[in-house]
């Protein structure tokens, strides 16, 4: 027996993910405009650690979301509301979003792992060092992190446009992800 909409846990995780991703984008643009760190200038310490905490948490959330989505699949969409090509585009966009979110998080962590700053997850769990500070590797992973983040923003724009398209048509497709 299948539900018409997505599982409630999936819905909550989806919207938690959405808010977190937007917060990370907006806060990162701001925090990169803060003074570079020195013993007297610690403006960046809290925002960067929070950025890492949320990023690592996102990996956990997206893996949970993937599990719930695959375990409790909703009923297929009515073919009168979605042509096969639109259906495949939607699947591709979702796969890209999942892949890019994971890529952004992993590259961000690897970039951070090559700095002199430790990662203390939510200021409680100290992550073991996986690499020595290395400026070149930090820059390499940092650039991948940035490019993956821009790509993610682009694909999110496509995803949001799709949702708004279906909302304007009032065809019930967005309701599948909006059941509390």
């Amino acid at each position: 027996m299948q539900r018409q909409g997505f599982n409630r846990t999936a819905v909550i995780l989806h919207w938690l993910l959405a808010v977190s991703i937007f917060f990370l984008f907006i806060s990162s643009w701001w925090m990169m405009g803060l003074p570079l760190p020195s013993p007297e200038l610690q403006f960046r310490a809290f925002p960067f650690q929070l950025h890492k905490n949320i990023g690592i948490t996102l990996v956990i959330i997206i893996l949970m979301l993937l599990y719930v989505r695959l375990k409790y699949r909703p009923a297929p969409v009515d073919s009168t509301h979605m042509t096969p090509s639109m259906h495949w585009m939607a699947i591709l966009a979702h796969v890209l979003i999942y892949g890019l979110v994971l890529s952004v998080c992993v590259t961000g962590y690897l970039s951070s792992a090559h700095t002199r700053w430790d990662t203390v997850f939510w200021w409680t769990i100290e992550f073991p060092r996986i690499a020595a500070p290395d400026e070149e590797m930090n820059e390499f992973w940092g650039e991948l992190h940035t490019y993956a983040a821009w790509a993610l923003l682009g694909i999110i724009a496509v995803h949001v446009s799709g949702a708004i398209y279906h909302a304007f048509r009032n065809d019930g497709i967005v309701r599948r992800m909006l059941r509390w």
């Binding site: 027996m1 299948q2 539900r3 018409q4 909409g5 919207w15 959405a18 808010v19 937007f22 917060f23 984008f25 907006i26 806060s27 701001w30 990169m32 405009g33 803060l34 003074p35 570079l36 760190p37 020195s38 007297e40 200038l41 610690q42 403006f43 809290f46 925002p47 929070l50 009923a75 400026e135 930090n138 820059e139 940092g142 949001v160 949702a163 708004i164 909302a167 304007f168 009032n170 019930g172 967005v174 309701r175 599948r176 909006l178 059941r179 509390w180």
Partner: protein, 183 residues
Amino acid sequence: MVSEGLNNNTPAWASILGVIAIMLGVFLTAVHGNEAMKQAVIVEHMPASGVMPEADCPPEELEEEGISVAECEYLIEHVKGMALSAPDWFPSAQMTLAGIGAILAFISIIIGGALVNYTPSASVAAVAVFSGLAIVDLLQFAAVVNTGPTLREVYLGGILLWFVLHLMLLVGAIAGRHTQANA
């Protein structure tokens, strides 16, 4: 076999208004959350003397950030300018409004979902939440108007845009309610 039916009788206005409220709510929760953090971080790390230390701009950091020495030094001046433009009451007022705004924005995501799966009470809640968000915008606008030119330049345009968006959502919800009442 499909077990759980969704509400397939949602009026078009509620479907559109709901999704737009959700999209804006997601974005605004992040914006207000960031604003609260911004004020907390600046207040906590400003030197008590008000005199900012020299910029520390090692070449490898500049290369990594893709900025010049002049820009690195300007980052300190920028934060200093923001702090100088803010009266003593401003950070706490802004943090409070941003906190309330973040909560209301998050609630507007839930309300948006309720509009998309339309129930008459969803539109009542939507009117209340969109009014609350518009009031937060107005209070923020009033607070920023009473600061210096640096902060006015940074904030006023954005706040005005959010106020217009919330006013449109509010009027949309009221119009939708009237439409339903007359149907």
